[in-house]
């Protein structure tokens, strides 16, 4: 399938593509907060007030795309593991603190992950296919697979596809209790070389208009997607090879890797092993030193890779190993906590 347009809210100035001119913002906190646009022009105030952050970011990235393509969009597919987790926990806090008293339903309605795709459908009057994947660290990869299936079976020609995640204090607390984050925070320039356990927490939204067929408008192709759960390093390598074979490619056909290094000394070895064993000469790009880690962060990697194909100059911070030849094909490899691993294969259109 082919990306013909896209929009991204992240901890960097991605919404207006300023990142490619003005450079990368250094992050100093343990949470890399999204830089949100002024929504007031896009979203009626009464709606905006009620929206959770993930719905707001989904709508902020989605509405400009919907405005342009709504007459031709056959559906919406979103990956969002946590959905509006902040609204969920705020509702839950009220249940406990008011001892199940009379509560307002707004937070409850907004709490489920499907409120992002639902709100986009509602605002754009898009009555076609609508689905939400919440499968933790491969929720966005699953959403891509969903889109590929719809295109293969010819039930859609054009879809809105994306990944959205928000940080909430409660969730940050829960995840920090289970050791997800660094005890001593280093700034984003040091993150990937920190050599300590844990990572940092991020959020964002990246949405894409994708077509089944190639056209002049295509900026990048997503060829295929794969996933594996609870693998050994050897199984990751085998999966990568199988994935390329399935697409009639070899490791030599890949020009660049986008790897999900997050500075966690306990799980970054998967990336090293894949790179050293299968792709020793290829260019390597990284992205979590820009936006931290979150369940659907591979949607940011796809956005960055598509921009590379578009000819945007990659910031020096994302280049771990510079390319020596033009980039025709990119393999994105990302895992979450070392448990769920996803591959996304992209190509110049």
């Amino acid at each position: 399938m082919y990306i013909i347009d896209m929009s991204c809210i992240s901890a960097q100035d991605t919404y207006n593509n300023a990142i490619f001119e003005e450079g990368v913002k250094v992050q100093t906190e343990a949470q890399y907060w999204a830089v949100e646009p002024k929504y007031k022009k896009m979203i009626p105030l009464n709606l905006l007030r009620r929206m959770s952050k993930s719905v707001r970011m989904g709508v902020g990235t989605g509405i400009p795309l919907i405005d342009q393509f709504k007459d031709s969009l056959d559906g919406i597919i979103i990956g969002s593991a946590n959905g509006s987790i902040k609204k969920s926990v705020s509702f839950l806090n009220q249940i406990v603190e008011y001892n199940e008293g009379t509560l307002t339903p707004t937070d409850f309605i907004q709490s489920t992950s499907n409120s992002i795709a639902g709100t986009l459908a509602l605002m754009g009057k898009i009555t076609g296919y609508n689905n939400t994947h919440v499968n933790n660290g491969i929720a966005f990869e699953s959403a891509i697979l969903d889109a590929l299936l719809l295109f293969e079976e010819k039930s859609a020609k054009r879809l809105l596809l994306g990944g959205v995640e928000e940080i909430s204090q409660a969730n940050y607390n829960v995840d920090s209790l289970r050791g997800m984050f660094k005890d001593v925070v280093v700034d984003s320039t040091q993150l990937l070389d920190s050599n300590t356990p844990g990572s940092v927490s991020g959020e964002g939204a990246a949405l894409f208009v994708v077509d089944a067929e190639p056209s002049e408008a295509a900026v990048a192709q997503i060829i295929d997607v794969a996933q594996i759960v609870h693998p050994t390093s050897a199984e990751v390598l085998a999966k990568a090879k199988l994935f390329l074979e399935r697409n009639k490619l070899t490791t030599d056909d890949i020009d660049a890797l986008f790897l999900g290094y997050n500075g966690n000394s306990e799980t970054d070895h998967y990336y090293n092993e894949l790179q050293e064993n299968l792709f020793p000469t290829q260019a390597v790009y990284v992205y979590k030193n820009l936006v931290a880690d979150y369940y659907t962060v591979s949607s940011f990697a796809v956005w960055l890779a598509a921009n590379l194909f578009l000819g945007k100059k990659m910031p020096s911070e994302v280049i771990k190993k510079a390319p020596t030849k033009p980039t025709e094909r990119i393999l994105i490899y990302n895992h979450y906590e070392g448990t769920q691993h996803g591959f996304i294969l992209m190509s110049r259109p």
Binding site: L92, T127, V134, E152, N173, V229
Partner: protein
């Protein structure tokens, strides 16, 4: 394109901890809705519920995982239903772990059923609980994949009350596309303070057991449960017992309101029509409808409008939520299993609590048990918040 056959089913709900128990209650017209005794909520004295009448601990014992840490209500219900489904299909450990076996589940509340634990962990009160990795919707899927060493494609849906219908649809599509040979599909939701208070805040919980399609209905009854189906590509099935075939599916969005369905039922008509079209059938070939039928003012009138629009003469229909309550993400899976039981045994189960059917339509839900009723094709509907509408066609194989 290969046919997708159903070779295993497993279910747990307020009317039983396995398929056989559920069928007996359906035949008898015996509801599982009543006063909840296990969930800790002040609303047990105000509203009836479709509670599974076993404690989490006793279900864990039943499932052979007594004493394991971090198991939520959603986890254990899923485990019990999954075990039955795997056994009924006679799936070997090698088949379960095969790269071409997909595992697709669904949940809305996930581990947030542990309201008080999440409150303490989320606010860093006291020592961390055992549930830190259990809260998120997809947690039950990951845990089961780990327990059964499932290595194939996996995802979890949360499209509110249509979630597990999407699991079944997605599993069938993975098999048809050749990306999987088998798919374990379903969903699970435990009864939770979170959802009880949510639906209460929306003022759509019924003080009486829900009355789907009655003109005086007063809201939904929350339930809990889980169901899984085993789907297999036709060429793998051999002489295995086959419960039915997944022949059609439709997924649309009503694009009308965050928590209600439009009067003109755009999404409902769309998902039903798309499902019938995928199955290459005519509406007149549908012999039985397991409706969404929540018992809310809004759902039932819109669903009747949609059914009337698609079918004209509506085939025998009912809502089994009058037995189980609304089991949210599990509903689509549970109701698919009930539909398969009706089809396999050529029987229709009565829809309960509909005394005065919704006016304006020449139709009323199935009122009494009926045997020797042949079902070749059935429709199962699931609609949710966020405008999500999904429909399935299951057929005699």
């Amino acid at each position: 394109m290969t046919r997708v056959l159903i070779t295993g089913i497993g279910v747990i709900s307020a009317i039983g901890k396995n398929t056989a128990e559920n069928r007996i209650q359906l035949q008898k017209g015996q509801t599982g809705i009543g006063k909840a005794t296990l969930i800790d909520s002040r609303y047990v004295d105000v509203f009836p519920f479709g509670e599974v009448p076993y404690s989490t601990e006793s279900l864990m014992e039943m499932a052979g995982i007594a004493g394991e840490k971090g198991i939520t209500r959603t986890d254990i219900l899923a485990t019990v239903a999954l075990q039955e489904a795997l056994a009924s299909a006679g799936m070997s450990p090698e088949e379960i772990s095969a790269m071409d076996t997909a595992f697709i589940s669904a949940s809305t509340v996930g581990g947030m059923s542990m309201t008080d634990e999440l409150y303490r962990d989320g606010n860093k009160i006291g020592l961390p609980s055992d549930y830190l990795s259990s809260y998120i919707c997809g947690a039950h899927t990951l845990k089961l994949a780990n327990r059964y060493q499932m290595k194939g494609l996996s995802t979890t849906f949360n499209t509110a009350c249509s979630s597990s219908t999407n699991s079944i649809m997605f599993g069938a599509k993975l098999i048809k596309s050749g990306r999987a040979k088998r798919a374990i599909v379903g969903g699970s939701d435990g009864l939770a303070k979170f959802t009880i208070n949510g639906f209460n805040a929306l003022r759509i919980l019924s003080p009486k057991p829900c009355m789907p399609f009655d003109k005086d209905r007063s809201g939904l009854t929350l339930g809990e449960g889980a169901a899984f189906l085993i789907l297999e590509s036709e060429e793998l099935v051999g002489n295995k017992k086959v419960y039915g075939e997944v022949t059609g599916y439709g997924n649309t969005n009503d694009a009308f309101h965050p928590s209600s369905i439009s009067d003109d039922a755009i999404g409902i008509i769309g998902s039903i029509s798309k499902a019938i079209e995928t199955a290459q059938l005519q509406p007149s070939q549908i012999d039985y409808i397991n409706a969404h039928g929540t018992g809310t003012e809004n759902n039932d009138i819109s669903e009747m409008f949609g059914l009337n629009n698609v079918f004209g003469a509506i085939p025998p229909y009912q809502s089994t939520k009058s037995y189980t309550g609304h089991t949210l993400a599990a509903a689509g899976g549970i109701e698919a299993v009930f539909g398969l039981l009706a089809m396999e045994n050529s029987e229709l189960y009565p829809s309960l609590n509909c005394i005065n059917p919704i006016e304006g339509y020449d139709a009323s839900p199935i009122s009494a048990y009926q045997s020797a009723y042949e079902i070749k094709h059935l429709l199962s509907n699931s609609f949710g918040f966020g405008g999500n509408c999904s429909s399935l066609i299951l057929s005699k194989a």
